[in-house]
Subunit: 453 residues, 2 copies
């Protein structure tokens, strides 16, 4: 009895949603080894994209959103499918013509898409998040494959016409970029998954990472999460780490907040809520400092240039900044890699990577119940599941007022620039613990920030 | 008894759908005098468009297609509506933000839209067509207002997301341009109407006019129709008048057929059928000949230049011709006014005005029954109501093969151009009844056509 209880405990500990890890470390999803799932997915995508390519391009029609194409992959192969080493399976492609249109919109060529996803083994991410989804990353760091529940896949399909409208009007958006929706069917099981853009480049060290909703109720990373090598922190942690928020220049701040507001309006129109902003911070100041100390760690800490296939996929491209991203890149020592330049209030130079995630949970489907339940145990204003309009409003206010702060423009400076520089130097010369104060007085000269580290 | 029968007969003859004409010639629609309807519509549109203008422009959301705004117009006026001389009424605007987006797409400014529709009385068209709808034409010839049935209005609202998609991908289309959908409510009656582009400019004399479906079953204008001053002919009449079709240069032919095919694909995707091509022909050769005879009739027969407010609204703009419309205009003596240049096989120079009409009859709503019924009495291939795919295929084949013909390009000419010119002149000099023969031999030199009139 006791042994059985322990065994149950172990099983329970290693199971999250449909994801299980056995004693030997093998990961399964719906009892299917994820290594087999990965290979089958690669076969399926290869066939689906390859089969679509020769078909002449034409306009997307409204009916294209409802189309589901299905290919059977017998183990021994068929006229149209190769032989393989796994169980027979069926591979379904949702709305193939519509997703081809989306990929086109982001400048993703079929051959590049195939090369990224099917040419080399995918990397399985070890941290499955709260949902128990499986995440794969393409070898070139461009795409994320994520398993989704049936209701999420259904909701995405319903969302497609509105998603199309939004992308047409705004290819620049922080909403997830969906490049495909598929279903792997085998032995009575359906494993649905989406292909998305990768928000946090692997080649960039994220000195901290946040999942932010604009709520305070239970929005603190657990002790278990904090113990991880790369924890994902939450709203309350952010307020603790950055009580003064992150400082952006006026143009970038406006562009970013405008984009968040527009994205929230779209989400609200679909009654979507409970979404988060995933925010990764690269601290250039810390990275450069550690380089100075140990040059052999250079390659791990400082940004490495990578080529991004998809357009509008970086945070900098996603926001509607009037500033030319290239000129910003040049100003910022060409080390942004699509991140948004910022400063912390202590003068550290930051590069921000971000995007809105988890949008496929419709309010109508399951959230009403959750809200009703949580309302009983907490004040309605602070729980993270609330009416979509309220949720959107709170989300955008949180980012406009708490997370991001606008650096005053030079014109609104209370002292001439040169005077501030002198003041800063004076502060420093007096060995005054000045960094925060002088950055507040003069964030533009940068002397204090550079001299004070 | 006899008098009563006669009276019934008179009433029956003067009623078509909801449209009635009484003994004094007053036209009513759902028992509402159309003069009152027109004034109320102008009040309603003025208020609706005027109220929308100050609202800041924003992206169209999917939810915008379902919005219906309602304003009450009491006779004595209110804070937001003027006093008027008619019965109290309510005015509903469907999807105001979505239609504003469509008007923007066609370059129609709110103030121009208001000026066209509300500044001067509308012209009521006397020929109501088969549906018994009321048609008003704006004084500047730009817009048509047409009453529609409830199921047509409902269908248009359902169509809007797909319509949006099509316009985004192809502002150049021969499909109707919908600029607004409204409903006038008074005394328990609902009168719904749409605002569309006007296909046939009033300032252009249409020497013949066709409603073409690509079907032959009962597709001949009635004797009653033929007796009218400006009859609308049908498919069988066209084949009789133009057995050799209408000749277009290769580029124009390709662009036109490509546009028809794309439009048919959209209609088919919505299971729409029973639509027609409205085709107006202005015969420049005849017009110029009559000018030569009676110069006082010049203004009535030859094209008058007009300024078109809406973009992509003329037939020439609607087709995806690679040829610059302006250069075509210059070539064709600047007298096209957005019409498409063509020739008849007897060498007459024609200008074509066209567009697809009557698309708001969904297959699912009422056509299935009609098809089942008509199948019993006629061969399925020839009746005009058939499955949408078949309908679309037959429609586009009809235009590609019977209505329009491609003039062979110069390169494929069997004789050098100069030789053809000499041959033509020789035919003419010999007073041979040559026009058809020489145009067939050399449609490019145009000498015969110009010299032979």
């Amino acid at each position: 009895m006791e042994a059985s209880n322990i065994s149950r405990l172990v099983v329970r500990e290693q199971k999250l949603g449909h994801r299980r890890v056995d004693d030997e470390g093998q990961v399964t999803y719906k009892h299917k080894p994820t290594s087999e799932l990965m290979s089958a997915i690669q076969l399926g995508i290869g066939q689906s994209i390859g089969g679509l390519s020769p078909k002449p391009k034409r306009d997307v029609l409204y009916g294209d959103f409802d189309v589901v194409e299905s290919i059977f992959f017998p183990r021994e192969g068929s006229n149209s499918t190769p032989a393989h080493r796994y169980s027979d399976f069926r591979f379904k492609t949702y709305a193939p013509v519509a997703f081809r249109y989306f990929r086109d919109l982001f400048g993703i060529q079929p051959e590049d898409f195939l090369l990224s996803l099917c040419n080399e083994p995918l990397k399985e991410l070890s941290n499955p998040g709260a949902s128990g989804s499986i995440f794969y990353l393409s070898n070139d760091d461009e795409f994320i494959i994520k398993t989704v529940q049936r209701k999420e896949a259904d909701f995405l399909q319903k969302l497609l016409p509105g998603y199309y409208m939004n992308l047409n009007q705004n290819p620049r958006t922080l909403l997830p970029k969906f490049y495909g929706l598929y279903c792997y069917q085998c032995g009575g099981k359906n494993i649905r998954f989406i292909i998305m853009n990768n928000l946090l480049p692997s080649t960039v060290v994220m000195h901290s990472k946040f999942d932010l909703k604009g709520s305070t109720y239970k929005r603190k990373a657990s002790q278990q999460e904090v113990m991880k090598p790369h924890p994902t922190y939450k709203d309350l942690n952010f307020e603790e780490f950055y009580p003064d928020g992150l400082l952006l220049d006026a143009d970038t701040y406006s562009a970013l907040i405008k984009t968040i507001e527009r994205d929230c309006r779209v989400l609200q129109s679909f009654k979507i809520m409970d979404y988060s902003m995933l925010l990764g911070l690269h601290n250039s100041t810390i990275a450069n400092r550690s380089v100075n100390r140990t040059t052999d760690q250079y390659s791990k800490t400082v940004l490495q240039p990578v080529w991004r296939m998809a357009q509008f996929s970086t945070a900098l491209e996603a926001i509607q900044s009037n500033a030319d991203p290239m000129s910003v890149l040049l100003q910022e020592d060409q080390d942004l890699l699509g991140g948004i330049p910022a400063h912390s209030s202590n003068g550290d130079k930051l590069i921000l990577y971000m995007g809105i995630i988890d949008i496929l949970q419709s309010y109508r489907f399951s959230k009403k119940l959750e809200h009703a339940f949580k309302s009983m145990i907490a004040d309605g204003d602070t729980i993270s599941v609330h009416r979509p309009g309220f949720y959107a409003q709170r989300f955008q206010s949180f980012f406009a007022n708490k997370i991001f702060k606008k650096i005053p423009t030079r014109q609104s400076h209370s002292f001439p620039l040169i005077l501030n520089v002198i003041l800063c130097r004076a502060f420093l010369a007096a060995k005054y613990a000045c960094v925060r104060a002088c950055v507040r007085a003069c964030v533009w000269c940068g002397v204090c920030a550079r001299a004070c580290v």
